[in-house]
Amino acid sequence: MKLSIPSPFVFSLVTVLLLACTNTMADRDPILSKIDLDADPPLAPLPPPPAPLDNPITQAKADLGMKLFFDPKMTGDASLSCGDCHDPKQGWGFNDPISRGYPGTVHWRNSQTVVNTAYLGKLFWQGNAKSLEAQAPIANKGAVAGNGEDDVMEARLRQTPYYIQKFREIFGTELPNLGDAWMAIATFERTLSQRDTPLDRYLAGDKEALSETALKGKELFEGKANCIECHNGPTLTDEKYYNLGVPRPLEWEEMGLNTVTFRWEAYAKGVHEKYYRDWKDDAGLYYSTKRPTDVGKHRTAPLRYLAYTAPYMHAGQFYTLEEVIDFYDEGGGDNEFTDGTHGLENKTPILKPLNLNDEEKESLVVFLEEISGDEIRLKLPEVPPYEVMPDVPGLTQARAKRIGLETYLARTAQQ
């Protein structure tokens, strides 16, 4: 698919120069000239989950990560774990439009599935974490998410003999370090990769893997409906940012608790006071870049495992895939960052009315449902208990003080 109207906002100067350069090369090169450089990466089977060089996947680490993922010790008041907002029974996400958040609060965005996140380079709707290792502590420490604090979370791990033993075996440290906990959680999450969906089998050559209707849907997906413009490659996302004109969630005006969180986010993300006062919608990528052209843009969502992860969009604005497809069929929508309310018209020019008939819409839905594959369920692990820590052998506490004191006095005597 060619990008019909390249938006001047989308390409930075560098990108334009690079493109110009490669185009010239392509003109000269007999092989390159046959390749459509604007082509979207095709749908592809998932490769084995990649892992950072400093955090290779091992079974022991994944097992430890699973315990930590479901262990409420990793949050502020120890009442909820990663698994409470990324619930295996709710598609490893949370099935309210807006995630539940920390007790006494509510979140402000839809909780996304953990399944297949191993392949993503941009986590969160705002893309503000670049790895699973970076994502976990942001989630566990945010005031409306985990509200945990490093010293307390680490002290809790160190009060748990199971963890002391496991961290020692896996990371070789005398006592658990919190940073290693995020490594273990990330490793566990990488194991939640789903490489045997009908889509993967179809793309690997099993032409029976997708139904006839789904194949019609696939054709629309890659053709008339142009979903593949953004939802492409093995993960079905280009990991770029767009404002589709998704409407503002009603919760922010209708529920006081949600209003609190909405304002808090704008405050905490450091927008100028004028925008804190005036904006009533999620400015998305703008919070990271502070570029006006990024206001209201969110990272393209991956479409794998979709059947289990309703509702959809960054604040769960749509409950069903049918609603989502209707939205795109109409060419997207409008919000205050696209309709000029604040002098911004950031809607992506990619979206156009699609003129899909009911049958076409239905086959798109069937395609998306079929490629979701089997649900990944899990028997929740038991969380290891705290235990009383034994005294240090041979060290009375008077002696602990005395050792310190004698060291101290010897040092001051030398000075």
Binding site: P72, N147, V152, G256, W264, K401
Partner: protein, 383 residues
Amino acid sequence: MKRWGKFGSVISCFITGTALVLAVPGVAVQASGFPEIGPLPLKEVPKESLAKMGQRLFFDVRVSGDGAISCATCHDPAQGFTRQVGKEGKPMALSDAYPGTRHFRNAPTLINVVYKADFADTGWGWDGHMGANLNDVIRDQITETMMMNMDMRLMHERMKQDPVYVQMCQDNFNGECSSGKGRKALVAFLQTLVSKDAPFDNDSLSGEAQLGRLLFEGKANCVSCHNGPYFSDGQPHNTGVPENLEVFNDPLRHVAYRAVITNHGVPKADIWRRDVGYFLVSKDYRDVGSFITPTLREVVHTAPYMHNGMLQTLEEVVEFYTAGGGHDDPLATELKPLELNGVEQAQLVAFLRSLSSPVAPAAQKVAIPLEYEPIDDWLEVKN
């Protein structure tokens, strides 16, 4: 002035006394060299409407991160602004804390706490780790993970969502709510928690209490640390109070303890099975086990005693000092046995009782709505 312990108590106390004269002008020094005990000096009365706003915040669980506890949870007005009995009615030596942790110290009273702010050189908290400014201390307590684990920006937004606070902020500050205004209001509320009619202040000491006062300032030498109108020199001392081993036998308390000392850079946080006390601040091993002298005012209403609640009654406390303090720490040298007989001990207790009001200052609980109402015309008004 924070260096203590190794030197003889008389010398150190004398130095402290001098320091306090410098720090608190207007406090008389008595012949012994210590600031004179006496009635609390009058303070400016806070604006009533501001104190009311602070009182509402004091009882508002939404001031904590997960909306589970308020200031009053550990500083219960019905228990002398401390926490002495738990929810099941069992005595509590050690305070509760933020859910998911438990505290490793006894919650001190807030009555007269505003007078503590006069000690500019004093660290706050039992271990002196906080700055001597009531507003700062309140911020510390609200944001500290073990206490209320609250993001100040979230407190700001929660206040802005509550029409009662919005009105209170308008009335008192003529402006929109902020966490800073909330803290100012809490300071005003604490300013109202002042002893009013203790016999000591009314010159109505019983004969027994008068004899106790002579011992207090004389033979028992309590005044070497408990001096000035607030009955505290605001300095760290090691009196050898035995460890409360519940801190290390209750994993949640041990977690909290270790997290705090790690956070403050205490070396080898995992080996300590004793409360390092003022060492947390000074990193000087001679300070291990030293704690800031507490006030003795309203002491009748604030049992149990000591930083870890190890002593239950005033009689036990007097007995403890009569014996020359505890012997848990062979390096603690500040105290000597006092050789007080039973009658004298009773006289001291009578004097201590006279420092308390017949009825402790209290505050009416404020009912707080649990839900936040939406804002009318939210889309039309500015955030």
